[in-house]
């Protein structure tokens, strides 16, 4: 029963990783940019929410929609003001600039909030759980996060398939220049893509801030988890990121169950490496070529 419990917790954890991974994947898909600041940009919304909660004295759940709007604007401006200059200039410039943003953001958060762990207090819901039997209980918060991942991925799929902007995302992803020749302002589309990416990670970032604590140094680990979920699931597939997140999450919780919590993350990495070695294209890769 402990093993089943561990697996269930792992599946729910996978929803969180999927929320982080979808944003990374969306940015890569539309502009071929691997955003190394992505992890730090999942930490940022927790601090934005913290400031909002401190200023307004409301339940942190109410801060989520406001933080989403703020992070969308941050993403839009970051893309228009800086990242648009490196899109299309090859991988090297993109990696260096986003790595630079990562370091700057992390240290700015350290400067503003110190390295101490912070938390968002949402009251009783944090500890509520559904008790299935004596040794198997599902926490409400992890369950909500998992369901939100499903809702977000479904919404993103609908957005990509049925809206004009979603269509433009896909067209730009296929062929930037041809999209421009159809009248698409690619600079605007990319900025919206980063905005949407950050809007999505805000949900995961703030929910995690409510569920546990956070500090400015969490970013690199989250970037790596998001990346592993993307690769395991298969690049370009939104449902793949959920599958990848779940595989990673289950590997971590089962690893902790088997070898102790110190080994949990390492087991996750090892599972990732094995999948990379034997199935580098992932499980649900999208295969459309020109």
């Amino acid at each position: 029963m402990d093993w089943i419990n561990a697996a269930v917790q792992g599946i729910l954890l996978g929803g969180l990783y999927a929320l982080f991974a979808v944003g990374l994947s969306l940015v890569f898909g539309t502009m071929r940019l691997v955003n190394l600041a992505h992890g730090d940009l999942t930490v940022l919304p927790a601090y934005v929410a913290l400031m909002l909660v401190n200023a307004m004295r409301f339940n942190p759940f109410y801060s989520i929609p406001i933080t989403m709007v703020i992070l969308f604007i941050v993403g839009y401006l970051l893309q228009r003001g800086l990242l648009n200059f490196v899109v299309g200039r090859g991988d090297i410039a993109g990696v260096i600039v986003t790595f630079g943003i990562s370091i700057v953001l992390q240290n700015a958060l350290l400067l503003g909030f110190t390295a101490n762990s912070q938390g968002l207090d949402a009251g009783r819901v944090e500890n509520l759980s559904i008790k299935i039997n004596e040794r198997l209980a599902v926490g409400w918060l992890p369950l909500i996060i998992f369901l939100m991942a499903i809702v977000v991925i479904t919404a993103l799929q609908l957005y990509m398939n049925w809206t004009k902007m979603g269509r433009a995302f896909r067209a730009v992803s296929d062929d930037q220049e041809a999209a421009r020749l159809m009248g698409v302002n690619t600079k605007h589309v990319w900025a919206v893509a980063l905005g949407v990416s950050l809007l999505i990670v805000t949900i995961g970032g703030v929910m995690m801030g409510i569920r546990t604590t956070f500090d400015p140094l969490l970013g690199s680990q989250r970037l790596i988890f998001a990346f592993e979920a993307v690769i395991i699931g298969g690049m370009g597939s939104a449902w793949g990121t959920l599958l990848g997140g779940v595989i990673l999450g289950v590997a971590q919780t089962l690893g902790a169950q088997a070898f102790g919590s110190a080994w949990s993350i390492l087991v996750g990495h090892v599972v990732f490496v094995i999948i990379l070695a034997f199935r580098p294209q992932g499980f649900l890769a999208k295969t459309v070529t020109a």
Partner: protein, 357 residues
């Protein structure tokens, strides 16, 4: 060293390909003199400055190896801290566990780095570009977690290098100084000769365009592997030197991603793809460190912003800017084609491509 490419032999004296000029000869002699002074430095420089220079050469060597991967193989690694950490712990293993002299153990650390780089390469090379970069980071994290979880290596609190501390300051400081200097010289030499060889040309072509290089018959995978293994060995070697220098090894510090942050910022600010760039970058970094390091986070923020600004608006770095203004290379890596006109006058027609991208 063959300075004329085979092409000039077949076309019988229509043009020659020149690599260096006379000024470079003088620079070379000057460089040799500087090297002699640097070798003798511990005898007159005093311990504090010798210590500082250990840091300087260690960072210069690391930056040069990183630059070798990126500038000449198009490989972007953000995981070199993995090899630095492995080097530190391999040194501890050989020096303290197996009882081999620490200065000899440095060589084993380098070998250890190369051995680990092979399977790591097989894995991360399945990824491309930016995702490859994160892949190297994952490899570094795996190494860190393994070391931090093994009780024998002291876990998270790390180990003290007993064998190195027994050496005493009068032996340890100059010894680590010479090793650091050697690492920097090796790094520069590797970069210089790799690029001047045929493989080097292939790597440069690859940096610009994978497909073009492939059609030239360059085996990209193997070339990438060479630079990755060389850099892995080099970074492990520097990690070992740093361990002797600091006497203490902790997983959080030895495997810190801050190492990579320094390397990237130093190379990028100085100028990626040249030998001179990292040298200038390391100098700038040291000035910044001496003046702003006490402001902690601000120092990283300034470094990060500088790297961003340089990448976006002046991608050739500070040294690239100097080349553009003066056309002078300290280490000439590009080939100049001189057309031999009928009247025997020589005219430099093409300056070749610059070392900076």
């Amino acid at each position: 060293m063959n300075t004329t490419a085979p092409i000039s032999e077949t076309t019988s004296k229509r043009f020659e390909i020149w690599v260096a000029n006379r000024t470079n000869l003088y620079v070379g002699l000057g460089g040799l003199a500087i090297l002699v002074v640097l070798i003798l430095f511990p005898f007159f420089g005093g311990t504090p400055w010798t210590r500082r220079l250990v840091d300087f050469f260690a960072l210069l060597a690391l930056a040069q190896f990183w630059n070798l991967m990126l500038g000449y193989a198009g490989l972007i690694s953000v995981g070199q801290q993995g090899f630095i950490g492995i080097g530190s712990y391999t040194l501890w293993l050989f020096a303290d566990m197996l009882g081999i002299h620490p200065f000899i153990s440095v060589i084993f650390a380098a070998i250890g780095g190369a051995i680990i780089a092979l399977p790591a390469a097989a894995l991360v090379f399945k990824l491309k570009g930016g995702y490859l970069a994160i892949g190297t980071w994952v490899i570094a994290e795996i190494m860190r977690l393994i070391v931090a979880n093994i009780k024998r290596t002291g876990g998270g609190s790390g180990v003290t290098i007993q064998a190195a501390s027994k050496l005493g300051t009068s032996v340890r400081v100059p010894g680590s100084y010479w090793w650091a200097l050697a690492a920097a010289v090796i790094a520069i030499a590797c970069t210089y000769f790799l690029l001047r060889s045929r493989t080097g040309l292939g790597l440069k072509a690859m940096r610009d365009n994978d497909l073009a290089a492939e059609s030239m018959g360059v085996n990209i995978w193997r070339s990438k592997l060479y630079t990755y293994v060389i850099a892995g060995a080099g970074c492990a070697m520097v990690g070992a030197i740093v361990a002797i220098h600091l006497l203490r090894v902790q997983p959080a510090a030895a495997f810190s991603v801050n190492w990579t942050a320094y390397l990237i910022f130093i190379s990028v600010i100085g100028g990626v793809g040249t030998i001179e760039g990292p040298i200038i970058g390391t100098l700038i970094y040291f000035v910044l460190r001496e003046t702003t390091a006490k402001y902690g986070e601000w120092y990283f923020i300034i470094l990060g912003l500088l790297a961003i600004v340089v990448t976006v608006w002046s991608p050739a770095g500070i040294y690239g800017y100097v080349i553009r203004k003066t056309g002078f290379y300290l280490f000439p890596l590009q080939r100049k084609v001189r057309w031999l006109a009928g009247n025997g006058k020589r005219a430099v027609v093409t300056a070749g491509e610059g070392g900076a991208s």
